[in-house]
């Protein structure tokens, strides 16, 4: 196996989509990195929990962050942050799948970015607005709501 060949890994999504990815990019995922370390025979690495659409998005993130050299330069940091912001302009379902993928694939930066995005969506909203946004059912009984209101009196004045 030549050095050139070693630099690529092949990933297969849950819906059988194939991605050829630079080994450094793929290694942004601790999960995949350990997979490669355990078995570097060059076979296809299955990623059963992540569909092709989401995996493509994950790879896009990893590629950008591997290609961008770490820098103390403020402009460079701002530019990367701006890229992350653009990158996160996705629909809510994709965001959900991306969080699960980042978690399963153990990509700290991506998990942090996606969780921060959700937190930013939640900030400044009332419980009702949060429920509406994420389609969460209010499963408190009226009595329970009364009880927690009493317990957290200071939050309601």
């Amino acid at each position: 196996m030549s050095t050139e060949e070693r630099r690529i890994v092949v990933l297969r999504s849950s819906d059988e989509e194939i991605f050829e990815v630079d080994i450094d990019v793929a290694s942004e995922s601790q999960t995949i990195k350990h997979s490669i370390e355990d078995d570097d025979s060059g076979r296809v690495i299955p990623v059963p929990n992540v569909d092709g659409h989401t995996l493509a998005k994950v790879i896009e993130y990893c590629k950008k962050h591997v290609e961008t050299p770490r820098s103390d330069d403020r402009d460079a940091q701002d530019a990367l942050r701006a890229w992350d912001t653009e990158y996160m302009k996705i629909d809510q379902n994709t965001l959900f799948e991306l969080i699960l993928a980042a978690n399963y694939l153990n990509i700290k930066g991506l998990l942090d970015l996606t969780c921060q995005t959700v937190a930013d969506m939640i900030k400044g909203k009332s419980p009702e607005e949060i429920r509406a946004m994420f389609n969460i059912k209010n499963d408190f009984t009226p009595q329970e709501e009364e009880d927690i209101r009493k317990e957290n009196q200071w939050a309601f004045e």
Partner: protein, 278 residues
């Protein structure tokens, strides 16, 4: 992010956000901060209510925007106490800006004997600090930014917490010759031989004070002397600093990441408002 991402129409059904792994939901909730968690997030549903009581969410408490709240001081105070309760003794780091009372301090001291990191910004008249820190012997990091404590108070704190490796004593800084003063530097040099990291932005120390620090704190690895306008690093002392200190920040280095270069008058004014309460 200010736009609400929309759920695409068609066959795609919305995801069940309550199905996220517990750790992930905790990670998201922890990014909300104390106020948003206690005022809104915990009331969304039973699962989030339960997660918001998980002590792992409360190992680090930051009260940095308490002044923005549209509620009475006593409510904000209750909220702070409640946050400390939720840590169930596991509080590791507490940080506050312009929001602290002796009561809150003792509350923390009584419940968080394992506290490692304590940060105050724009807090003054806290006579209770020396007593509180007697119960926090494991403290490793202490920050007093834009706070005015007497030397006696600083000494008391330092003597009660022999494990402090990181000390931050930051002011606003002034070129006025009357501002030159080595008392704090001498105090630290005498009482904190174990110090590794020292930040003294805007301090009035002169070269005498700096020399005392280099002599008194042989383990110093990082030293932040930004806006210390009464020292002169151009000679031997400066060379000594460069040789000994791994991470040195000089008087005229950028203070972009330090927000108190100009007086944070608003914060101090608001602080005085609640001093009347206590």
């Amino acid at each position: 992010m200010d736009s609400m991402p929309s759920i695409p129409a068609g066959e795609e059904s919305p995801r069940d956000w309550l199905e996220l792994p517990r750790d992930v939901t905790l990670t998201i909730l922890m990014k909300l901060g104390v106020v948003e968690t206690l005022e809104h997030a915990q009331f969304v549903c039973k699962l989030w209510y339960k997660l918001c009581k998980d002590p792992s969410m409360w190992t680090s408490i930051e009260l940095d925007n308490m002044l923005d709240l549209n509620t009475s001081f006593s409510n904000r105070h209750e909220m702070a106490l409640n946050a400390v309760d939720r840590s169930c003794g596991g509080l590791v780091s507490f940080s506050t800006k312009a929001f602290a009372t002796d009561h809150l301090l003792m509350y923390i001291a009584d419940r968080a004997s394992g506290l490692k990191c304590l940060r105050f910004a724009c807090c003054e008249f806290l006579s209770g600090i020396p007593n509180a820190v007697k119960k926090l012997p494991l403290l490793e990091e202490l920050e007093l930014t834009m706070c005015w404590f007497t030397e006696e108070e600083i000494k008391a704190v330092v003597l009660a917490c022999p494990l402090i490796k990181t000390f931050k004593l930051n002011h606003q800084g002034s070129r006025d010759p009357d501002f030159a003063n080595d008392n704090e530097a001498f105090c630290i040099a005498e009482t904190m031989p174990q110090l590794h990291n020292l930040q003294m932005i805007g301090n009035g120390l002169t070269n005498s004070g700096l020399e005392a620090l280099l002599n008194g704190c042989p383990h110093l690895e990082s030293l932040d002397l930004r806006s210390c306008f009464h020292i002169d690093l151009s000679g031997d002392l400066g060379n000594r600093c460069v040789e000994r200190i791994k991470s040195l920040r000089c008087p005229h280095d950028s203070t972009d990441d330090y927000m108190y270069v100009s007086t944070d008058e608003e914060a101090i004014l608001s602080y005085n408002e609640f001093c009347k309460f206590m």
